[in-house]
């Protein structure tokens, strides 16, 4: 009996140890291992350790778990697809790109820690990553201290221009400002601002308020709800009694689903009230349910329906790789093209040296699915076209207005008189 127990304990002990070893291996070697695995399954078998000499390592840093995984996993997928395509076409500088994937786990200190690991241990040539502004702000000092290079694929609130970051999503003047202007001209003057309670919505609303004041709009209310808030009956009631012309929606994440479902249940449709969202794209619409958000407006630079030959090819490839039920959207497209932009800059520079790549990237043009984009050397943002769209019953977005040409990025809104005093706060 006693022997039995001891044997049992031994067994359990050995089990625990081996599990612990497996876990720690997973944690430390996860990036390379997982990436290698995906690579292998496609076309190029990795050749053990020797392979690293003729590859260029790049980091991919997104939340693959936690609350942000909903958005960031598809962005990672897009980056992996771009890397595979570039590798299939011969790689860069005669070398294959080797992705090292790290999970930021929707936790900002983890993002900083993983960024440090990518830069110091893996010595990656560049990193593609982040989604929330909070995670970008967390890794920014790490990239500046270690002189790393980050490509950031999501629209954001502006007021930032780090020499170590390239921003491939929209600056406020490429999404929010033109949307407000369009709404004032076409939909009415009374604005209700609704957002999640963190840095992006608050900064965005500060910009919108200054703009409304300058352009004769009227602010009827400004409401924030905590991230992950799920009951919007009270907010909907407030909207009802405030009677705005427009609800400008900067809610993020799951809250959008609850908001739009409950708005519809309260008997308010897009015909009764105009809402314009800046964080709801095709991917999010799948979670909201197209019939709940049909007819409402959004503002982005790219839609799956954007009519360019590059986009047709891009959507086809994405669906072929990840499944016909998947959709592409603005951040996915931005994530995809930023890998190409980096590769083009490296080819042009003839080196992965960060200073040389940055120099080569200035003015670089690329025929993206959204149209022709160009890197603005001064602030390392992209020239992008702006598009306002309406959600259709099939969950896709129809463009109803666009600038046609790419708009120059202006993260600090220097070219707008009313925005003076916003940037130095």
């Amino acid at each position: 009996m006693k022997n039995n127990i001891i044997r049992k304990w031994k067994k359990a002990f050995v089990g625990t140890i081996s599990a612990a070893v497996a876990v720690s291996m997973l944690l430390t070697g996860c990036g390379g291992g997982a990436a290698g695995g995906e690579q292998q399954s496609s076309s190029t078998p990795a050749q053990g350790g020797a392979a690293s000499a003729d590859t260029i390592k790049v980091g991919i840093l997104h939340s693959l778990s936690g609350t942000m995984a909903i958005s960031e996993v598809s962005v990672k997928d897009a980056e992996m697809m771009a890397i595979e395509e570039i590798n299939a076409a011969g790689g860069v500088l005669g070398k294959k790109i080797e992705p090292v994937i790290e999970d930021g786990a929707s936790d900002w200190p983890t993002f900083a820690e993983k960024a440090k690991k990518l830069l110091q241990n893996d010595k990656v040539a560049t990193v593609f990553g982040c989604w929330t502004s909070a995670s970008r702000k967390a890794v920014l000092p790490v990239f500046e201290e270690n002189n790393g290079l980050l490509w950031y694929p999501v629209q954001y609130e502006g007021m930032e221009s780090s020499p170590n970051i390239f921003y491939s999503g929209a600056a406020p003047n490429q999404q929010i400002v033109p949307a407000v202007e369009w709404l004032l001209q076409n939909k009415g003057k009374k604005f209700f601002l609704l957002g999640s309670d963190y840095v992006f919505p608050r900064t965005a609303n500060k910009i919108i308020k200054a703009q409304l004041e300058a352009m004769g709009g009227e602010l009827v209310a400004e409401e924030y709800t905590p991230l992950g808030h799920t009951d919007y009956s009270t907010i909907v009631n407030k909207i009802k009694s405030a009677k705005p012309d427009v609800v400008f929606n900067t809610l993020n994440g799951d809250s959008n689903v609850a908001f739009f479902k409950q708005l519809k249940d309260a008997g308010i449709t897009a015909g009764d009230l105009t809402t314009l969202s800046v964080s709801v794209a095709e991917e999010e619409i799948r979670g909201i349910g197209a019939d709940n958000i049909q007819g409402h407006l959004v503002s982005w630079n790219y839609y799956q329906t954007t009519d360019t030959p590059e986009n047709k090819e891009f959507v086809e490839k994405y669906k072929a790789k990840y499944g016909a039920d998947r959709v592409t959207d603005d951040p996915i497209e931005a994530a995809y093209i930023q890998v190409y932009l980096w590769a083009e800059a490296v080819k042009k520079a003839g080196s992965t040296d960060i200073e040389k790549v940055k120099e080569a990237a200035k003015g670089l043009e690329f025929k993206a699915p959204e149209g022709l984009v160009k890197i603005e050397g001064e602030n390392q943002h992209l020239w992008k076209p702006v598009r306002i769209g309406e959600v259709q019953s099939d969950g896709l977005i129809k463009e109803i207005w666009s600038t046609g040409e790419a708009v120059r990025p202006d993260p600090y809104l220097k070219t707008y008189d009313w925005a003076k005093g916003l940037s130095n706060e």
């Binding site: 309670d197 409401e223 808030h229 799920t230 799951d254 008997g267």
Partner: protein
């Protein structure tokens, strides 16, 4: 005027949602004293169970029969989640009775595992459960006052569950055994009740109720792996405020937190409203640590 009437309705509606979410916890935490951090994930399991059941009915989409899937989904979610809870009890929880800290950590771990499991099976993006057509729209009382059918349905469902649990615990032989075991385990044991089995069944019951809550939540918001995390704090608060071990306490706790939340949110804003409610609850618990209703029994006196 309409605004205020609608706000009162919103308060009742939020209370009913909290009540559904907390009812399972009132059984597992209130009666069994297990700090089950995975309760939120059991709610999530119920929501995904509804999603699966909807998937089974997908071929009928468009026909009138499709809308009926939801009626089936409620017991379906209950059974599936109860089964998950049962497995959880016999594999993990049963080893941790009387060790609150260990069970807290273990169930926290279980919650992470369940979240990641959901992510692996259903994918990281949220899924959409299409509400049955007969629940769309609302009861129009006056032009500005429309009560959504979904919310009315949830209030009805919550009431039904409360009555059901009450009936089960106080009017059936099984319920009598459960109460006997929870109030005085050794006495119940010596009277020939299989307490091991009662533990499993009680935990499965609490889990199943969480599943029903998950099913109801599909009507209101999105279904994602982290669905449950938003409810865990609120539900514990409801049970603690109401008084552990008392079904009527859960009703009172959910009612006061739900109505308090919406009222303060209406008067201030969502973040501040929540802060005020939590402050009031903390102050109340300073004054009455046992909550609204207390049950005096030998087992609880220990």
């Amino acid at each position: 005027m309409e605004t205020y009437l609608l706000q009162i309705f919103n308060g009742i509606s939020v209370s009913s949602i909290l009540m559904l979410a907390a009812l399972g916890l009132a059984v597992t935490f209130g009666l069994m004293k297990i700090i089950n951090m995975a309760h939120g994930e059991l709610i999530m399991t119920g929501a995904y169970a509804t999603y699966i059941i909807q998937g089974v009915f997908k071929p009928l989409d468009g026909s009138a029969v499709f809308g009926l899937y939801f009626i089936l989904a409620i017991p379906g979610a209950f059974l599936i989640t109860a089964a998950v809870g049962y497995l959880l009890e016999i594999s993990v929880i049963k080893r941790l009775y009387g060790r609150p800290l260990d069970s807290l950590l273990a169930t926290w771990g279980v919650s992470l595992v369940l979240q990641q499991l959901a992510r692996s099976i259903f994918g990281a993006p949220n899924v959409d459960v299409k509400s049955p057509a007969w629940l769309n729209g609302g009861l129009v009382l006056t032009e500005g006052l429309q009560l959504p059918y979904k919310r009315l349905f949830i209030i009805f469902l919550a009431a039904l569950c409360i009555l059901g649990v009450y009936w089960f615990l106080y009017r059936t032989a099984w319920g009598r055994r459960i109460r006997a075991v929870m109030q005085n385990r050794s006495m119940a044991q010596s009277l020939g009740i299989n307490t091991r089995m009662i533990d499993s069944i009680t935990f499965a019951l609490g889990s199943g109720l969480a599943g029903v809550a998950g099913c109801a939540l599909t009507l209101l918001g999105s279904i994602g792996p982290t669905l449950g995390t938003g409810y865990i704090v609120d539900t514990f608060m409801v049970v603690v405020l109401g008084g552990a071990g008392s079904i009527i306490g859960t009703v009172a706790g959910a009612g006061s937190i739900g109505i308090g939340n919406t009222a303060f949110e209406f008067l201030t804003n969502a973040s501040l409203g929540k802060v005020i409610v939590f402050l009031v609850v903390i102050m109340f618990l300073q004054w009455k640590p046992q909550g609204f209703f207390t049950i005096s029994s030998r087992a609880l006196d220990e």
